[in-house]
């Protein structure tokens, strides 16, 4: 049974003593025993900082400057170091985003799962192990009796996340903090983990705090939602009220961004007689040394056929390891295919970068997921954008400057960012610069590799709007790679579904809602959480 949580005027500051910045502003909320409160907000909103403060913990460089946190009858912030240590892992447990990083790879799972019980001496080793096995069973883990003897790398990511929940629950904590526990998982895995979490939280009536940026996930888990922005409460209310009748305008924007939305680009113009802009024929590719038949050791892509017409956007969707990124890299010429060919505008395109002409290179541009690593941190935005203009078109002087301003304007960035380094921009701005650099080459095809995955919901939605708008205005074609069906559906005319390096199905926009489809596509479509309460229960019932 969980405890009553009472937080009053919590204030957390960061930075050196003489130049402190408040990152959480006088936050107050309460959680009734056995209820789940979701903390939701974009990155930098202070949601994880707040969650950690419930254990009396502040990350290095931060300091809890005031307020009170009560768990049951205990005032957490008044405890000394030893008192807080006794609290953590015993009465308050924390489940982190990346279970893979939280397990020690050189010890067995059982050793680590029972550790909190042994450290806090709540049970003998034998009792703790028996309890762990019961928890494994409750969390629907396969082979609950023997899974503890394995090492962390011998189980899947979704299983590891559930094992971490077992580790957290072994001491029967009064409060469980779940910090984005499913963000790193594939959709089909996420749904299993969510189901397992929900069942244990319900059955044990544990009080829980669920930190997430994903409203649809939160809708399944939480009784109340606290919307945070810049460390301030925007809205606090019951889940149903937040989802259906949000009163704050930021909440409304968040909901609008999270709702699936179709971004039509007008003319698909896919006349059957026209030559496709890009045609991929029986493409196979892989990594590692090749054997006598020219087959690489690890074959990632097998026999892919694809036609992309001018002005069209095709989405490639699949889970991690499905080969979707490898497909983009093969088209970009970064890895050599072992079989098959590619035609660009009817002309055969050489498989490798070094064999392609400058003109061929210019017509296909690639935009990467992590804008952080896609922009050289030592070059100013101006220099980053200037290079392709100089390189492909030999611009210089005033025409170059004018074109840079035009490009920034096109991606809706103020021209003042030109002089800045990438480090001084936000994630969304960086992704816009990333797009602008690709546009500088005036390409015909842009390969987008998970361009919105690392962005917050609202920012990601704005980038998707921009992508659709650019397509409308410039007649661009996209190959849009993503793991998120919502994203792909919203910008693409056709969806290619990939699994284990093979193309399973191709679904046109008109058929998105009409079946029947390939069972794997159906599974993916079913696994994407919907933005309403009770969705998870329906899925469980089905």
């Amino acid at each position: 049974m969980g405890a009553q949580i009472q937080v009053r005027d919590l204030r957390i500051v960061a930075g050196a003593r003489d130049a402190e910045q408040t990152i959480v502003h006088d936050l107050s909320f309460a959680i009734a025993p056995g209820e789940v409160l979701a903390l939701i907000g974009e990155s930098g909103s202070g949601k994880t900082t707040t969650a950690l403060a419930l254990m009396g913990y502040a990350r290095s460089g931060c300091r809890i400057a005031g307020g009170s946190v009560r768990i049951g009858e205990t005032e957490v912030l008044a405890l000394d170091e030893a008192g807080q240590r006794a609290l953590r892992g015993r009465r308050v447990a924390y489940i982190a985003q990346s279970a893979a990083a939280s397990f020690n790879p050189s010890r067995t799972i059982m050793d680590q799962v029972v550790e909190p019980a042994l450290i806090h001496r709540t049970a003998s080793r034998a009792d703790a192990e028996a309890k762990a096995v019961a928890l494994f069973r409750e969390l629907a883990l396969p082979n609950p009796d023997t899974i503890g003897a394995r090492y962390p790398h011998q189980v899947s990511g979704g299983q590891l996340q559930r094992l971490m929940a077992a580790m957290a629950l072994i001491t029967d904590p009064e409060l469980v903090i779940l910090d984005e526990p499913t963000t790193a998982l594939d959709v089909t895995t996420q749904i299993e983990v969510l189901r397992a979490f929900r069942r244990v939280v319900r059955e044990r009536r544990t009080t829980a705090v669920y930190v997430s940026h994903d409203l649809a996930v939160v809708a399944q888990m939480a009784d109340h939602i606290l919307v945070l922005r810049d460390g301030e409460t925007r809205e606090l209310g019951a889940t149903a009220q937040i989802l259906t009748a949000p009163s704050n305008d930021y909440t409304q924007r968040l909901l609008a961004a999270a709702r699936p939305k179709v971004r039509e680009a007008g003319t698909p113009g896919a006349a059957a007689t026209e030559t496709p802009l890009l045609e991929v024929r029986q493409l196979s590719a892989g990594y590692g040394p090749r054997d006598r038949d020219g087959q690489p050791k690890a074959l990632i892509l097998e026999d892919i056929n694809l036609k992309l017409y001018r002005g069209q956007a095709i989405g490639v969707i699949g889970e991690s390891g499905s080969g979707k990124t490898t497909l983009a890299r093969a088209i970009a010429g970064l890895i050599a295919p072992c079989r098959g060919e590619m035609l660009f505008d009817g002309q055969p395109m050489p498989p490798l970068l070094a064999q392609r002409s400058k003109e061929e290179l210019r017509r296909v541009q690639i935009v990467f997921q992590m804008a952080d690593t896609a922009l050289n941190p030592s070059q100013t935005i101006e220099r980053i954008l200037a290079r392709p203009l100089q390189f492909y078109r030999g611009l210089s002087g005033e025409p170059l400057q004018r074109r840079i301003r035009e490009l920034l304007d096109l991606v809706k960035l103020p021209s003042t960012v030109a002089g800045r380094l990438p480090g001084g921009l936000s994630g969304g701005q960086k992704q816009r610069v990333n797009l602008a650099r690709a546009l500088a080459a005036e390409p015909e095809l842009i390969l987008c590799d998970e361009v919105t995955s690392a962005l917050d919901t609202v920012v990601g939605a704005a980038v998707l709007d921009l992508i659709a708008e650019l397509r409308r205005e410039l007649g661009l074609s996209y190959l849009f790679i993503s793991h998120d069906l919502h994203t792909v559906r919203s910008v693409c005319d056709e969806i290619v579904v990939m699994q284990h390096g093979r193309k399973l199905a191709q679904v046109a926009r008109a058929d998105y809602e009409r079946g029947p489809h390939h069972p794997y596509y159906e599974l993916l479509a079913r696994s994407v959480p919907e933005l309403r309460q009770g969705w998870l229960d329906e899925q469980a019932a089905a």
């Binding site: 290179l361 690639i366 992590m370 896609a374 050289n376 070059q379 080459a441």
Partner: protein
């Protein structure tokens, strides 16, 4: 003797360097100035034997006493600074730039180029550095144009190893991939995409390598294989005046202290560089 301290610099230290760093900087600058302008300011020639005693004590006329031929020790140390600092600086710059360039080439080229360069340089690492120096001096005789490349050659592998490990990480970044898909040449990727992002840690490494070169040159000179008489660097000054060790004359202590102060100063400076290596690392 590692640069880890500078990686751990706290954000607060970033603006002002702590006092040991400032002390190191001051001593280093002093020696550089002495090496550059000292002999000119001295006003008289250090080889002048005058009428003083051999191994005279410190006096108003000879601040650091005199050496085994009765020459003014202060003048000798100041002249020695030019050799020690100058040779070491040139050799270090050569070693670091050759090492960095080869590393960039290895990182930005096909895997077989990397393999050939790395294995070749590994082979060089396996030869003991003092032995290599002795062989080079034995084969080509000892002269300044010989000493500098020898010292540089010995320290190329170290610089290469560090630069390569940094460059390989940068090479895996998406922005390098983007440059590659744009069709950029190898030289552009090496010099514009990778180099600016590894230059800061390489500068810190340059300082440390300088210290090693100073010590290598001093020990070579001490063995009589480095700078040849009548010229002398600090290592040969110690050797020339070793006879005065028993009497504790300043003639042998002063050059030894000069070597120690230079190397310690550079170390202090490198260890306290304000967040430079840390910023370069990510």
């Amino acid at each position: 003797m590692s640069s880890t301290a500078s990686f751990a610099t706290s954000p607060r230290r970033r603006l002002a360097m702590p006092w040991p760093g400032l002390l190191g900087l001051a001593v280093l600058l002093a020696w550089l100035l002495i090496a550059a302008f000292g002999p000119a300011l001295l006003g008289h020639d250090g080889s002048d034997m005058g009428d003083a005693d051999v191994f005279a004590q410190m006096s108003a006329q000879h601040w650091l006493g005199t050496d085994y031929l009765g020459r003014d020790m202060l003048a000798r140390v100041i002249q020695g600074a030019r050799y020690t600092v100058g040779i070491a600086l040139l050799a270090t710059l050569m070693a670091s730039s050759i090492g960095t360039l080869l590393a960039l080439l290895a990182a930005a080229s096909a895997p077989w180029v990397d393999a050939v360069l790395s294995r070749g340089i590994d082979t060089m690492t396996s030869i003991p550095s003092k032995m290599l120096a002795l062989i080079m001096v034995a084969a080509f005789g000892s002269s300044l144009p010989m000493l500098i490349p020898t010292a540089a050659l010995i320290y190329v592998p170290g610089a290469f190893r560090i630069a390569r490990s940094l460059a390989v990480n940068i090479n895996a970044m998406d922005y390098v991939t983007v440059a590659r898909t744009r069709g950029e040449g190898r030289l552009y990727i090496m010099l514009h995409e990778i180099l600016p992002n590894i230059i800061n840690p390489m500068l810190a490494d340059l300082g440390l390598r300088f210290v090693y070169v100073v010590l290598l040159l001093a020990s070579l000179s001490f063995l009589g294989l480095g700078v040849q008489p009548p010229d002398a660097d600090w290592g040969s000054l110690v050797r020339e005046n070793i006879g005065a060790l028993a009497s504790g004359s300043a003639a042998v202590v002063a050059p030894a202290l000069a070597i120690a102060s230079l190397t310690i100063a550079v170390n202090l400076l490198i260890d306290n560089l304000p967040g430079r290596a840390a910023r370069g690392a990510h």
